[in-house]
């Protein structure tokens, strides 16, 4: 198939519309009908899926603002008047949700800082430096992506117990300062797009590689760092297994773990449970709306790799 021919028919440029090529010969009316039907169908499907995505989340908010009696009304009521904002403060009486939030933020911030530092450093060495053992070490790191977290769980639990780290936040933060396979891979991919000439020019100016890393590559790789940061923060915030195993004292728990506790303890108080769910995802949703492009480009970037 050659791509050299320029399209002679201007109409046909609107690709992927059934019948578009036939339209030129059969006249515009049947083409228009097909076109409009197709568009209507497209919007209908997209809207239906959108509603399926959005309505449950709205229902979560709606339930969180109801009185206990209203929750079990049939047919269900979408808007409670007046909204029971009091459900939210009540949550903090049932369980220390303020501590949960602080813990989650603290753990996610430290994990993110750790991953950004350690991964960007290692990735620079793997992307732009020559040293004995480079390829072997990188291959080993890549292979560790396949290892399920659960394989390391029991020995790590023993290790953390022996050194007194259980019920502290250290098991959920310290390992991130020692590199993650995914992060190193992501940053390396990003560094490979920065021209090699910049390294050579800086070398001629007498810069060491470590200087090149933090003076040139770190500032130039902000989008890559944003992606890695978002992934690490999100992963840490949403993690269940780690906190469930390593955090046994209530006051050390994260919001995600705290939410499971609330669900178990509040005996069918759906308005409180859903309020807890709203609180647990609200910070992330706000972050998502602020940094939406970074989120979406980040995900797209992890998908198309060389």
């Amino acid at each position: 198939m050659s791509a050299q021919d320029a399209t002679p028919i201007g109409e046909a440029r609107t690709t992927a519309i059934p019948g578009a090529s036939a339209a030129a010969s059969e006249g515009l009316t049947s083409y228009r009908v097909l076109h409009i039907t197709w568009r209507v169908l497209l919007y209908a499907v997209l809207t239906l899926v959108g509603a399926t995505m959005l309505l449950p989340l709205l229902w979560m908010i709606s339930t969180s603002l109801k009185e206990p009696g209203e929750v079990l009304l049939l047919p269900p009521k979408w808007i409670s008047i007046p909204p029971q904002w009091g459900n939210y403060p009540r949550l903090f009486d049932v369980l220390p949700f303020d501590l949960f939030l602080i813990n989650s933020i603290k753990i996610a911030v430290f994990a993110t800082v750790g991953a950004l530092l350690s991964c960007s450093m290692a990735a620079f060495a793997f992307a732009r430096m020559r040293f004995p053992g480079k390829n072997v070490i990188f291959a080993i790191i890549l292979a560790t992506i396949m290892i399920p977290f659960h394989v390391t769980l029991i020995p790590l639990f023993k290790l953390y117990r022996d050194i007194g780290w259980l019920s502290t936040h250290l098991p959920l933060t310290v390992p991130f300062f020692f590199g993650t396979a995914f992060g190193i891979f992501l940053m390396r991919q990003f560094y490979l797009t920065i021209p090699q000439e910049m390294v050579e020019a800086a070398r001629i100016d007498g810069c060491s590689f470590i200087q090149i890393y933090y003076r040139i590559f770190l500032p130039l790789s902000k989008p890559g760092l944003a992606t890695l940061g978002i992934f690490t923060f999100l992963g840490s915030w949403n993690n269940l297994m780690g906190p469930l195993i390593f955090l046994t004292k209530v006051e050390t728990m994260t919001i995600t773990l705290g939410l499971t506790l609330l669900t178990n303890q509040s005996g069918g108080r759906w308005e409180l449970i859903q309020a807890g769910a709203v609180i647990s995802i609200l910070p992330i949703i706000v972050m998502f709306f602020i940094g939406q492009e970074h989120f979406i480009q980040g995900i797209a970037r992890t998908g198309i790799k060389g």
Partner: protein, 309 residues
């Protein structure tokens, strides 16, 4: 860099004094944390858990060597193990193919020249950023038999309500539907990026040749998107084999073990019953399954993944 920078005298000291040597030292400084992490947080635990899988150990006593007993018990005497394998397989087969196809179709729809693309994309993406726990808590309520929204909708459409999470038949499908809903936006975004990477020339040339939309989809989109599809599939399979939070929050593996997955069973054996040796053996079985499936996918991709037309 020329040969002039190589040391005149050989040996380690000569190498370390050369430019290449200094470069290597700097590189090792940069990767030092990663190497330490690899040893302490990955390699040692992976080896330790292999050792534990051959022992009987309750975390308090010292591990007692018992060779292959755990594996033999697991594979031949423990019906629960096979139930969890079957349940996990059900979950993987339920979520991965449907989730991938739906995401692909929606990505194609969103990739048309339509209005409000950003709005749709944002809405589709909202569940993705929410934690599985929060989503499970929400759907626990949606699936509630008497007052849940899902059954209310079914009744509205003239069906009878289903006892979703308390039914042996419906509990796993309920979790599957929810998980597809949760992960759809992620795969859609990856597929859109893939679609936008396909050169427009191919479609224009095909149009000139008189190909209709279906032919273009089949002969251009599908093959040129196959590397992305491969990525989505591989990642989805690895992730969905490790399904845990849904079962932990919604069903505790029930009713009657209907939603007990491998990782949930591992968690129970290890951290509820403190059968650490047995749980380690379970972890290794999961490890072997994931590695073999991943390697199989990499081998099999040569038959269906095209990097160009």
């Amino acid at each position: 860099m020329s040969a002039a920078t190589t040391p005149a005298r050989g040996g380690l000291r000569g190498f370390l004094g050369s430019n290449r040597g200094r470069e290597a030292i700097e590189a090792y400084i940069l990767i030092l944390p990663t190497i330490l992490g690899l040893i302490v947080f990955t390699a040692s635990p992976v080896l330790a858990s292999l050792y534990y899988s051959f022992t009987r150990w309750n975390l308090l006593s010292t591990p007692k060597w018992q060779a292959f007993d755990n594996y033999i018990e697991l594979l031949t005497e423990d019906p629960l193990f096979w139930i969890t394998i079957k349940n996990t397989g059900y979950y993987v087969l339920g979520t991965v193919p449907t989730g991938t196809v739906l995401a692909l179709l929606l990505a194609i729809a969103l990739n048309q020249k339509i209005r409000f693309v950003a709005v749709f994309r944002t809405i589709y993406f909202l569940p993705v950023v929410s934690s599985v726990v929060a989503i499970s808590v929400l759907w626990l309520w949606l699936y509630q038999s008497d007052f849940g929204l899902v059954n209310e909708l079914l009744r509205l459409l003239g069906f009878r309500g289903i006892r979703w999470l308390s039914s042996v038949t419906w509990a796993m499908p309920a979790i599957i539907i929810m998980s597809i809903w949760h992960g759809l936006g992620y795969n859609i975004v990856i597929f859109i990026a893939g679609l936008q990477g396909i050169p427009q020339d191919y479609y224009e040339a095909a149009t000139v040749d008189g190909a209709n939309a279906w032919h273009k989809f089949l002969n251009i989109t599908i093959p040129l998107l196959s590397p992305v599809t491969f990525f989505v599939l591989t990642l989805s399979v690895i992730n969905s084999f490790q399904v845990f939070a849904q079962a932990y929050v919604m069903t505790r593996g029930g009713p009657v073990n209907a939603t007990k997955t491998i990782v949930y069973y591992l968690f129970q054996q290890g951290f509820e019953n403190f059968h650490m040796g047995y749980a380690s053996a379970l972890a290794y079985v999961l490890f072997v399954i994931i590695v073999s499936l991943t390697l199989f996918q990499f081998w099999f991709q040569r038959r269906w993944v095209h990097y160009e037309l």
